[in-house]
């Protein structure tokens, strides 16, 4: 072989690309800030997007509780204890042998077992309770402010009651209680996380940015706090809450108790990020540009962290929800008349109830599981998308 062989004569200026789908505009990426890039990356993770939609749905329910619930959470009807769920049906016989469109549920036929004195309910095929949307029902105050009596769904006759998800031992509607519980359970997480966020970010940032003895001190505090056994501590603190306090006060105190122990993880995460970023070239560059420490922290380091913090918060929320549920289940968290998922689960503590009224366990536990899973999937998706410059 002698002499060189030219294979491609022309001089290309860019790598060969061909579009996979039409409409992809590379140019817009050039001027896209970090949130746009994070959003692009996040939306590629379909599971996380679905989880995000679920979370939004939960919070939507939590906000419009009074309207969405068919009844009031504390309205009891002693004759319907442990009544099973009623099936919503769309068509009813019209009396002439045919059927017509009429959303309804079937009423109960009650039989008392003469030996055990236990009531059993069966559907009464002849007793039709018509159901309507946007019906007038029990009066309530939306957000404790606006008086109203419209409900998304409910019996057209306001003296009737329906139990879409069954009733509890006092004949209260489980669906209404579950919907009211959503507000408390979903918001206790938010409040708690906000508190641990402040503690965690401030202490983590101090620890990571200054290092040295500050870091040493804060890390040891974190270790002491996280070495405490949580359940006994919660028990002790919750037992110290005076009985005379109103349920709302108890609710806030429980939030504080839960968040006091939950900030350590967040603080460690923030510290780790700060520590890594402090040595990054662009932070050194900012320092050499003459930036004061405050500007380095707030202008250069924190913006790189916000997306990570968001992800950590999303992963911390389900921990709070589970903590509240556990405390309330044990009877030391929220107490009736406040309704939360944990309080609802208290009703399902013994095997007899579970055997006769399994819906009391299934629905609240299901709500907790779905909410926690959604938060975890969303958090994982956010964490993966948090650094859009990685690859």
């Amino acid at each position: 072989m002698s002499g060189t062989k030219i294979i491609h004569k022309e001089l290309e200026t860019a790598p060969a690309l061909s579009p996979l789908k039409t409409g992809g505009d590379i140019g817009s990426i050039a001027a896209a800030g970090q949130w746009t890039l994070i959003w692009h990356k996040f939306t590629r993770n379909k599971v996380a997007v679905f989880a995000g939609v679920m979370i939004l749905l939960f919070y939507f329910v939590g906000i419009f509780v009074e309207f969405l619930a068919p009844g009031l959470p504390d309205k009891s009807k002693p004759q319907f204890t442990y009544a099973p769920p009623q099936q919503l049906e769309w068509f009813a016989p019209d009396g002439e042998g045919g059927t017509k469109f009429l959303p309804h549920v079937k009423g109960y036929k009650m039989e008392v077992d003469p030996v055990a004195l236990r009531r059993t309910f069966t559907a009464d095929e002849t007793d039709i309770i018509p159901i309507g949307f946007f019906v007038e029902g029990p009066a309530y105050k939306l957000w404790n402010l606006i008086p109203a009596d419209r409900h998304l769904i409910g019996p057209i006759d306001k003296n009737e009651t329906v139990y879409f998800l069954g009733s509890d031992k006092l004949g209260r509607d489980l669906l209404s209680r579950l919907i009211y519980g959503t507000r408390v359970s979903m918001s206790i997480g938010l409040l708690g996380v906000c508190m641990s966020l402040v503690l965690g970010v401030v202490l983590g940032a101090l620890s990571g940015f200054y290092g040295g003895w500050v870091d040493m001190l804060i890390q040891r505090i974190i270790e002491v706090v996280s070495s405490m056994p949580t359940i006994p501590l919660w028990l002790g603190l919750a037992a110290a809450i005076p009985l005379t306090w109103s349920p709302l006060q108890v609710y806030f105190v429980i939030t504080i108790i839960v968040s006091l122990l939950a900030w350590t993880g967040l603080a460690r995460e923030v510290r780790g990020r700060f520590y890594a970023l402090r040595g990054e070239d662009f932070v050194v560059a900012a320092r050499l540009d003459g930036s004061a420490e405050r500007r380095v922290i707030f202008r250069h380091i924190l913006p790189s962290l916000t997306s990570h913090i968001l992800a950590v918060i999303t992963l911390a929320l389900p921990v709070m929800i589970v903590a509240e549920t556990a405390l309330s289940f044990l009877g030391i968290g929220l107490k009736p008349p406040v309704v939360s998922w944990g309080v609802l689960l208290q009703d399902a503590q013994n095997i007899r109830t579970v055997a006769t009224a399994p819906w009391l366990l299934l629905w609240p536990a299901g709500a907790v599981v779905v909410a926690v899973l959604s938060f975890n999937f969303l958090g994982d998706g956010l964490r993966d998308a948090a650094d859009p410059y990685g690859d």
């Binding site: 002499g3 294979i7 790189s304």
Partner: protein, 570 residues
């Protein structure tokens, strides 16, 4: 090696035809390799040369079918013919028994990163023994024997003892030797070396290349060498294929490629490399009489070794050992050395991002005043940092990805209060123009720019405050050859225009020779020699400098410098 003796040297052992590989990106298909074809011959070396993104590594990986999951081979054949039976590797399953027998067995692979391609939790010996037992069905004792023999062949001293050492006990060069021993373990017919010396120092690189070349010749292997460094190509290759954007643009014997290149790109690439072989600067004479702008006296940094609560720390490292030099106005001083020689620390000591243990740094702004930088307070340091600026090595981590170019370049102007609002915008535009970027791009984020463009942004930021001195820490090492030459020319131009002094820290002697008036050579924290660039590069006095200079690959296959290098032992 009985197998090899029956066959003639120069037999083709591997033929690649019409190979194309696509990468499926989110919105686009990247044609990373397009219709590539080449032939490997027994006992000969083919160098696949190209800049980053040219598809050279993907091609090599495709031969062993270890490409990414996002990549797909769309066409082509890879015919392996080592023992008379032809096999098309492309038809074998990615994890089939056959391909696993070929990987390591008939085709050996040496990776770029000797740090991460060896397991940290197994001894070096056990990793080689594993390969031997898998591919050659040896029993434990004979595999151990063979391992020691292999380590001897790759010139690891005291191989019997070293086989029981762990990876972290080996230096970078030793690890690469161990990798080579592993690749050779099964007596392969083909050796693929993917940037085998890129992560190593020049003197180590020279030894490793020398070793690979000798082993290849004595074993009669075919070698595919993948590299971006034309110097390395000239030293070891027989044939060259130049790749660009996934295509082989030119191929031929090494001598023809270097002395009669046909394709415009090859000429360009050679031009950028050869240009660096001689100095570009016209030494601004007479500066020596004036007072130097920066004088460093006895600067020392000791890491570790302080006394703690529990008695004296046992281990102290003198990273910089009483370094002294002068820097004159408008002059470029190069600081060269291998990794760990303390050159980066020296740069940081001058800026005091690392606090010096001892010594003085005297700065003279030119108005007759003198300041000792090591005694300045916070405000004084801020002032000093306006005059002395740093250009970073890594164009990716040194720009905040969350800020626009305007914010990045304008940040020093903003915090020092030099310019705000409209004035800042026009100054940033001016700076971007000076470094050869379009001022209209200032609203973009760094991710919209290539490595070379990012480095220009970094330079614009350094120039923003009208500095007197720029410390460039490996400012061109992360860049491709052709881009490197452009950035160096840019720096030369701004230097002339703004009468800047440069401290140019680099491990790359050719870059320093091209850019600097004077050069200081560092070795183990000490400045061993300091002199004019021509004197250091053409007539070095110290033994270490001689060894260093002679280890630099020469991009001329007719004058192989590395093989006649002087060795330095200390």
């Amino acid at each position: 090696m009985a197998r090899n003796e029956q066959q003639k040297v120069d037999d083709p052992v591997l033929e690649v035809n019409d190979l194309s590989i696509d990468f499926h990106l989110r919105t686009h298909i990247l044609h990373a390799v397009r219709n590539v074809g080449f032939t490997l011959h027994r006992g000969r070396t083919l160098a696949l040369v190209g800049e980053s993104g040219s598809g050279k590594s993907v091609t090599a990986r495709a031969l062993l079918r270890i490409i990414d999951s996002a990549a797909r081979v769309t066409s082509g054949t890879i015919t392996l013919d080592t023992d008379g039976k032809k096999t098309d590797l492309n038809t074998l399953g990615e994890n089939s028994k056959e391909i696993r027998a070929i990987r390591g067995g008939r085709i050996g692979l040496i990776f770029q990163e000797p740090m991460s391609s060896l397991s940290p939790v197994h001894t070096i010996g056990s990793q080689i023994i594993e390969a031997l037992r898998l591919h050659r069905n040896m029993d434990k004792a004979s595999a151990k024997q063979e391992t020691i023999e292999l380590l001897r062949q790759v010139e690891i001293p005291d191989p019997a003892a070293m086989a029981d050492r762990y990876t972290f006990e080996f230096s970078g060069g030793m690890r690469q030797r161990a990798m080579i021993a592993m690749a050779l373990a099964c007596d392969p017919d083909i050796l693929i070396a993917d940037e085998p010396t890129t992560a190593l120092d020049v003197t180590t690189q020279a030894e490793i290349l020398d070793l690979i070349k000798r082993l290849q010749v004595s074993r009669g292997m075919a070698m595919l060498l993948i590299t971006h460094d034309l110097g390395v190509v000239a030293e070891v290759a027989d044939e060259v294929a130049v790749m660009r954007f996934g295509r082989i643009v030119e191929t031929g014997p090494v001598d023809d490629i270097f002395h009669a290149p046909q394709h415009a790109y090859t000429k360009d690439l050679l031009g950028s490399t050869v240009r660096l072989e001689k100095g570009a600067t016209t030494s601004s004479g007479g500066t020596e009489k004036r007072q130097p702008v920066l004088s460093v006296r006895g600067l020392t940094k000791v890491f570790g070794g302080e006394t703690s609560w529990f008695g004296k720390g046992a281990y102290a490292l003198k990273a910089v050992d009483s370094a002294s030099f002068d820097l004159h106005a408008g002059e470029s001083l190069g600081i060269v050395g291998e990794s760990g020689s303390g050159k980066t620390t020296l740069g940081r000591l001058i800026l005091r991002t690392v606090e010096p243990t001892e010594g003085q740094v005297i700065y003279r702004p030119g108005d007759g005043s003198e300041t000792d930088v090591t005694r300045l307070d916070k405000q004084g340091m801020r002032n000093f940092h306006r005059h002395v600026r740093l250009v970073f090595q890594d164009p990716f981590s040194s720009l905040n990805p969350r800020m626009t170019v305007k914010q990045i370049v304008g940040d020093p102007l903003f915090v020092t209060g030099t310019a705000r609002g409209k004035a800042l915008e026009s100054r940033v535009g001016e700076l971007l123009e000076m470094v050869g970027l379009d001022p209209a791009a200032m609203e973009r984020y760094p991710h919209a720019f290539s490595g070379g463009q990012r480095q220009r942004i970094g330079i614009a930021r350094a120039l923003a405050l009208d500095p007197k001195i720029i410390i460039a820490d490996e400012a061109t090492s992360a860049l491709d050859v052709s881009i490197r030459a452009q950035i160096l020319d840019l720096l030369l131009e701004v230097r002339k225009r703004l009468n800047l002094s440069f401290i140019f820290i680099s491990h790359d002697i050719s870059v320093v020779r091209y850019f600097c008036d004077r050069v200081a050579v560092m070795h183990r924290g000490k400045i061993v020699e300091i002199g004019s660039a021509e004197q250091i590069c053409d007539a070095p006095k110290e033994d270490y400098t001689k060894a260093l200079i002679s280890a630099v690959p020469n991009p001329d296959p007719r004058n192989k410098r590395m093989l006649h290098r002087t060795r330095f032992t200390a």
